[in-house]
């Protein structure tokens, strides 16, 4: 059998990757409190327990506020940065872009600790706002990376053509550039939303008393009786992620189809 070992390797790899995720819904719908085989019976009580948990509701609300705000802020900032870096030449550009992209490779713990010390020094109270600040800092480089490639693939003469036909720089941006980079903007929004939603370290350091979802989840693992409910929460999150990914891919493909470009393979 040719490539036999390679097939075994691929199989082991996939099991390792997906088995834990498949276990999530199995225990989420299981009747028992202990996480162990054999399964005892079908139940949706853990999902009901989620709905009744006020702490969880607060955490979800905090996380959503943070993730949505972060996505919008970092994408907006990234639109300007990506446009400037792909279209204009200015002194110190390489250094400046390097500094902006640095958080991409900087350990998050460093960002979290340094932000925390500065906030404490400045006497700013920790809250959702400070988490947003931290998340925008780490999400913006991802957004810039996505949007730069979107702006880069824009033919410069499209802008010139619109300008030539009487439009102002602003209306050219609105009528031509924005629609053409829209798929990039949507993936930037979705990706920064996802990063912010499951980010733990910064949220843990900077949230003060307003816990986010990941912080809440970790805290629940201290109580064995809460674990099945966490499994139910995990199941919901997996479904949500697949949905978001699907939407992102849909827009990516539609963007490609509209501009008539060849599909060079996305993430689905």
């Amino acid at each position: 059998m040719r490539g036999g070992w390679f097939k075994v390797y691929a199989l082991v790899y996939l099991v390792f990757l997906y088995a834990p995720i498949i276990l999530l819904p199995m225990f989420a719908f299981n009747d028992a409190t202990v996480i162990a085989f054999p399964l005892s019976g079908f139940s949706t009580k853990w999902f009901a327990a989620l709905v009744d948990d006020p702490l969880l509701r607060d955490a979800v609300r905090n996380s959503l506020i943070i993730a949505v705000t972060t996505a919008i802020l970092s994408t907006t900032l990234a639109v300007f940065a990506a446009r400037a870096s792909t279209r204009y030449r200015f002194p110190g550009k390489a250094g400046l872009m390097g500094l902006i992209m640095l958080p991409l490779v900087l350990p998050e713990i460093i960002v979290a600790v340094s932000l925390l010390s500065i906030l404490l020094m400045a006497g700013i109270e920790l809250s959702i706002l400070t988490v947003i600040l931290g998340h925008v800092l780490i999400c913006t480089p991802f957004c810039i990376a996505i949007l730069s490639s979107a702006f880069q693939s824009l033919d410069r003469s499209l802008e010139e053509a619109a300008y030539d036909l009487g439009e102002t720089p602003f209306s050219t941006f609105r009528l031509i550039i924005l629609p053409l980079v829209m798929p990039g903007i949507i993936s930037s929004l979705l990706i920064s939303f996802t990063i912010s939603l499951d980010e733990f370290i910064i949220a843990f350091f900077l949230a003060g008393t307003q816990a986010t979802l990941p912080v809440y989840i970790l805290s629940q693992f201290r109580f064995p009786q809460a674990v099945p409910a966490i499994m139910a929460l995990g199941t919901i999150l997996v479904c949500l992620s697949i949905l978001l990914l699907g939407i992102a891919e849909f827009f990516r493909r539609r963007g490609l189809a509209r501009s008539g470009a060849k599909d060079t393979g996305g993430f689905l």
Binding site: S157, E160, Y163, D164, G166, E167, T168, R258, G260
Partner: protein
Amino acid sequence: MTAKPTMIEFRDVQKYYGDYHALRGINASIRAGEFFSLLGPSGCGKTTLLRTIAGFEDISAGAVLIDGKDAALIPANKRPTNMVFQSYAIFPHLTVEENVGFGLRRARLDKAEMGRRVGDALAMVGLTGFGKRAAHALSGGQRQRVALARALILKPKVLLLDEPLSALDKKMREQMQVELIKLQRQVGITFVLVTHDQEEALVMSDRIAVMFEGRIVQLDDPVTLYRRPKTRQVADFIGTMNFLPATLLSDTTDGCEVEVAGLGRCRIAPDQAPPGGNGQDTTVGFRPETLTILFDGQAAAARETPGTVEEVVYYGDMTYYDVKLDGVASAVRLSMRNVPGRPVLDIGTRARVAWSPDALVLFR
């Protein structure tokens, strides 16, 4: 012709990209309603010069005048010029109709009027019925037409075209050349075309400016440009030309007397001997079609030199021969039309070659 007013005037236009001197003092006038071409090799500054008219490129010194007004005072989106881009720059997210009507957006026309003008523009370029198509679902030739219709819908005073046909295959290109000429006559707008294809320039233009390294070297109508190129560089760039060394014997107002090695003394009319230089060592040039092979039984010509065929290239309608003329240092190229009953000569054949001193051009 000369009575036509000037539409565009370049006054000592200079352009620097950093240290690079891209336009080195351009002086020229483009007349209203003419088909004007900028011709030159890659990198000579044709696109840069065209973009100074459109307003996409600021000039470093000098002035560009459009219809008598200093263009520096008019931003690109207010200039009475429209451009057809080399890549066509069709907006990919809009339909053909929306692309063509894009320039009318600001005019705030009612729906019916808008539809009528877009329809007219599409009809003009032969794309009636294509309005609802997505722009990316078009062939190269169709994109080209959409770009033309979109640029012409605002009825600009000047239409700028940057190598509009270079992305098309040969057949399509020749067809579009004819269509462009017809279109230009029909709308009467000044066309300024950038091309590096000398044949295209000769076919389409009323006048051609030949550019080398940021300068216009010669500005003439196609016939003059082909018959009387002012420099060897121009002669070499446009068509094929044979060059032979010659000694200048006399230079008066009614012509020059030269001694061409192997061909003897020749008289060259003053308009075929542009002034310049002052040495005795010069070069004469002549086109392949000004030489003729005389076949058996044909009467002798006034000037005739025997030679040996060294190379034969058969083109169907024409045959090109490289012939080593007796007493002439290098082989010359000549072309013969293939008419019925006339044989194609073999390499090594001895032949009588007739030539005419009237066809000589002097370079010094």
